[in-house]
């Protein structure tokens, strides 16, 4: 069978060994008419997801300036598959919250997060988004993780573009190591039906009437 040395299930011992094997299981038999590749589904899906994260920029302050610098030609987010800024939450994979979030914006960022389809991730960029930063006052949310779940915190005030890129690489590592069988990472906390925040599924469908080419992409749809 030529060059193939894909591991059988009996061979796999540890996670580390498996991950190493993932990189070496691509095989090609030059004598046959068709090339073939074997891999694990998780690896393939995660590889695709990690390298085409579409960011939803939520820029509210000076961090957004650094974010724009990161996206521009010098630092060039496109190298990491993020050249497509999604200004609609419904076609985004990763919410990048750059800047402070006042309480007045809290329900809005929460709703944007709810509108993003699974799988989705969140990067909290800078001191203010992560902790409230220097704005320890009556108007500013003390960390967006009190509103939405955060995957990567990027420190800095504001972080340099290299910092954000490092955070994005960390997120890519996290995505690559996810297991499709583990459904817990996709768990979403349902809003309290008694709060004004709660939107019934029917109304979500109504609000998310077809637009663009994503006719069936609504949050309440299975």
């Amino acid at each position: 069978m030529g060059l193939s040395r894909h591991p059988s299930l009996a061979d796999t011992q540890t996670l580390a060994a498996r991950t190493t094997a993932d990189r070496e299981i691509v095989s090609y038999d030059p004598k046959s008419q068709e090339g073939w590749v074997t891999t694990r589904l998780d690896f393939l899906v995660n590889w695709g997801r990690a390298n085409s994260l579409w960011p939803m920029p939520f820029g509210t302050a000076c961090c957004a300036i650094e974010f724009m610098a990161t996206a521009a030609s010098h630092y060039d987010l496109a190298r990491f598959g993020m050249e497509r800024m999604s200004f609609s939450p419904r076609q985004a994979d990763v919410l990048i919250c750059a800047g402070r979030v006042p309480f007045k914006l809290a329900p809005i960022i929460r709703r944007i997060w709810q509108q993003m389809p699974q799988p989705k991730w969140c990067i909290s960029m800078g001191a203010c988004a992560s902790t409230g930063g220097m704005f320890d006052n009556y108007a500013v949310v003390q960390g967006i993780d009190t509103i939405i779940p955060v995957d990567v915190y990027v420190p800095g005030c504001p972080p340099r573009p290299e910092g954000l890129l490092h955070g994005i690489r960390m997120l890519q590592e996290k995505v690559k190591n996810e297991r499709g069988a583990d459904e817990r990472v996709r768990d979403e906390m349902e809003p309290d039906p008694n709060s004004k925040l709660y939107i019934p599924p029917a109304m979500i469908d109504e609000l998310s009437e077809p637009f663009g080419n994503s006719v069936h992409q609504t949050r309440s749809a299975p």
Partner: protein, 233 residues
């Protein structure tokens, strides 16, 4: 003034207007007062309580009861022509016995003059003054901001609501000296109340309704609307 507005170019300033120049060697207090202050004294007498000149800028303290009348005169009188209201704000002093001051910044483009008008509201009195919205339509949002931050009620304002803080903000007026920096409620309570607000309910019907503003729209937009073109949403 007959025209609703006039463009002031270097050649078209009113006769007697001072040439634009960067002032030099200004004294901290004293110095030459804005000529409008003297004119106000002559016209309104005792309603003008005090005139201060600080760093070359003139502040006129007036009686709150006659504020609207005074501002309207400053706007309409051909020798004053204060046609631009640049700010409405308020000052609360650290010394809590001092009265709270409501401040209007007026600018006369034809005469190149700046005048600061203040009304003092003694502690314990109701925080109420007349709105200058009938004279300056631009006072709308400025007065809403002063209301939001200090709780000053502007009588005669068409739409007295909060503008910076959200509608359901219950903690009071943040720029008052007795307001704690972190607010009155706990963080979790603040967050709970903030998340309870309805992001779509922030606009009044006046803001959403095109019909009410129809007469104020430019002619081309009126034509497009009249021909049945849909707007917004």
């Amino acid at each position: 003034m007959t025209a609703p507005f006039a463009v002031v170019t270097p050649g078209s300033a009113a006769p007697g207007a001072t040439a634009p120049a960067t002032p030099k060697n200004l004294p901290h207090t004293g110095g030459e007062a804005n000529p409008s202050a003297e004119a106000l004294r002559a016209r309104f007498g005792a309603a003008i309580e005090r005139v201060d000149v600080v760093w070359g800028e003139t502040t006129v303290y007036v009686q709150g009861a006659r504020l609207l009348e005074i501002v309207r005169w400053l706007h309409d009188d051909p020798a004053q022509q204060y046609d631009y209201l640049s700010d409405v704000t308020a000052v609360e002093h650290r010394d809590l016995d001092q009265p709270l001051e409501v401040v209007w910044h007026l600018r006369s483009l034809p005469f190149r003059r700046f005048l600061r008008v203040k009304v003092r509201i003694a502690k314990g009195e109701k925080l109420e003054v007349d709105s200058v919205w009938p004279v300056y339509k631009g006072a709308d949002w400025l007065e809403r901001e002063a209301y939001d931050m200090f709780g000053i009620d502007f009588r005669g304002h068409p739409d007295m609501r909060r503008i910076l803080m959200w509608e359901s903000f219950k903690e009071g007026y943040p720029l008052r000296k007795d307001f704690p920096l972190r607010g009155r409620f706990s963080r979790s309570e603040q967050l709970r109340q903030a998340l309870d607000q309805d992001p779509e309910a922030r606009y009044s019907m006046e803001e959403l309704s095109v019909a009410d503003a129809f007469e104020d729209l430019p002619p081309d937009m009126r034509e497009r609307l009249a021909s049945g073109e849909k707007v917004g949403e």
